[in-house]
């Protein structure tokens, strides 16, 4: 949609099974969230179910989102600064694909990738910053990092180019039908992804009337003129966290790591958890009982 079309559209509510309207084979897809927090996992699973392939996925701090898409064979290339399962170890499918399968990748330092997204959002072809001088990123990615001289002070700076994903996918707490997105906890650089992408899909825990959004406007981080489609998908970040609503699911993460250990067992994971439907996924992952536990754990925390 053009910005004007986005502003005019009053109802952007869609279904998870309709993401094919906005994500197609071969697209570059920037994935929101960071570490094991707030990744749009329901859309990740739907990409796999829908058989969308050859994606160029982009992440700042990726984890199970990237690993699952790579393991399911949906990815042609990864742009990333970090892919790790954190406490659970290195990302098994991602590692295998790079070490054995020759998966194409573009490794970019963390700040550079964020600033690259920002450049697109600001409508400029590059942005300067005090980049990773002396590192081997400059040798491996000379097309991405260019040393420049400040025209005002003469200081040496690093220029990084605008990064332009086709699609951004994000998960958040709440939206109205027009696509005003409220984020309450760990946000990564989701707003920069939304600004940079041509098309933006956001899943949320709940869709509410705009009046409810206006009650707490400070929670709205992405206004509707950036958004193409909103989908109500409770626990859409599972097994990653969406604080302060629910914590990450350590039990499911352990199951994932066990089953991602070999390509064969990972096929079983996809079959057992992912391939049917999102409702079936949540049921297989422990159903309401497990999801309520994750919510309770997020609520009951105390400071020292």
């Amino acid at each position: 949609m053009t910005t004007k079309e986005r502003v005019l559209a009053q109802n952007k509510v869609g279904k998870l099974t309709e993401i094919g309207r906005f994500i197609r084979d071969g697209d570059s897809v920037a994935i929101g969230g960071a570490w094991l927090s707030s990744h749009p996992m329901a859309v990740v699973r739907q990409i796999i179910r829908s058989g969308i392939r050859n994606l160029h996925v982009m992440t700042i701090l990726g984890s199970v989102d990237i690993d699952m898409l790579v393991g399911a064979g949906c990815v042609g290339k990864v742009t990333f600064s970090f892919v790790s399962m954190e406490a659970y170890g290195l990302a098994p499918n991602f590692r295998r694909a790079v070490e054995k399968g020759g998966l194409k990748y573009d490794e970019i330092s963390g700040l550079a990738i964020i600033i690259g997204f920002e450049a697109t959002g600001r409508g400029v072809p590059f942005l300067p910053y005090r980049g990773p001088f002396g590192s081997d990123y400059l040798k491996q990615r000379p097309e991405f990092y260019k040393q420049i001289t400040c025209p005002f002070t003469g200081e040496e700076m690093m220029a990084v180019p605008a990064i332009k994903p086709d699609v951004a996918i994000i998960h958040a707490q709440r939206a109205d039908p027009a696509g005003n997105i409220q984020i309450e906890g760990t946000a990564g650089s989701d707003l920069e992804l939304a600004k940079a992408a041509k098309r933006v899909i956001v899943t949320v825990e709940e869709i509410v009337p705009t009046d409810v959004i206006r009650e707490n406007p400070f929670k709205t981080k992405i206004p509707r003129f950036y958004v193409d489609m909103v989908i109500e998908q409770p626990f859409g970040a599972h097994p990653t966290s969406l604080v302060p609503t629910y914590v990450a699911d350590p039990w499911h993460m352990m199951t994932y790591m066990d089953m991602a250990a070999t390509p064969d067992s990972f096929r079983n994971y996809l079959h057992q958890y992912v391939m049917k439907s999102e409702d079936d996924y949540l049921e297989a992952a422990g159903g309401l009982k497990q999801m309520n536990l994750l919510k309770k754990l997020a609520r009951e925390v105390k400071s020292l």
Partner: protein, 284 residues
Amino acid sequence: MSKYSEDYTPAEMVCVAVAREIEDGDILILGSFTPLAFVSYILAKVTHAPNIMYMAYSSVDALPFQLTFATYEAAATKGGVARWNMTECIHSLYLGVGVDVEPISSIQADGYGNINISVVGDYQKPMLRGPGGAGAPEVVKMHRKMLAYFANHNKRTLVPKVDFVTGTRWKISSQERLKAGLRPGPIKLITNLAVLVKEEEGRPFRLASVHPGVAVKDVVDNTGFELDTSGDVPETERPTKEQIRILREQVDPYGMVAFDFIPGKERPAYLKSILEKELQALGY
């Protein structure tokens, strides 16, 4: 009676040594999963540095919280004074006012002040594809002190030259750092054996102290780059009884601090045991 503890683990020794690098008033970041670093921040905050502020996930200046496994992100979020996103964090803290300390851990480090979190072996066809640098390239270059900790001080980790420079201190001496617009501060590597410090470009890391029970030779034999061991090498200050009590009773009752010290294969079982204890304490 001595105030120092005789009963502490190698992980607690490293954690306390990291905490002692934190000064009151410092700005810190909880980055990617480095539980020992998180424990050291909270220990510092509830002991000698009550006014430090840390950014944890999107939470700014959280109250001190217990280092649980399942819930610490939620605890940090609940106790903060503001919620920022990652972009606000990097622009203001990393690039603007400056972070003081953010201990990192890497696959390799060398004698030049370089770290590698990217690959072991050839870059395009690596033997090991690591996680990648995230913010580490800027952390090691821009922050006031470069601090890295290692659970296994050996020649596979502390190597003559890293396979890939994910990050580098770049300018090391105070003079060179000031000239490049960077704040002066040393490189410190805190390991299970010793504390190594580098303050000048052309000179090797100095063996600043060895932990109790460790000989200078043990450190030299397990380091892949040149060390300056001239003069008397002092013993690292031991943890106090009070620090160990606070760690075990308040900050880290489940032993998150030991995570990096547990062999990879045993970590899932260790995490499971922490989870069980955590849930039990919550009454589930």
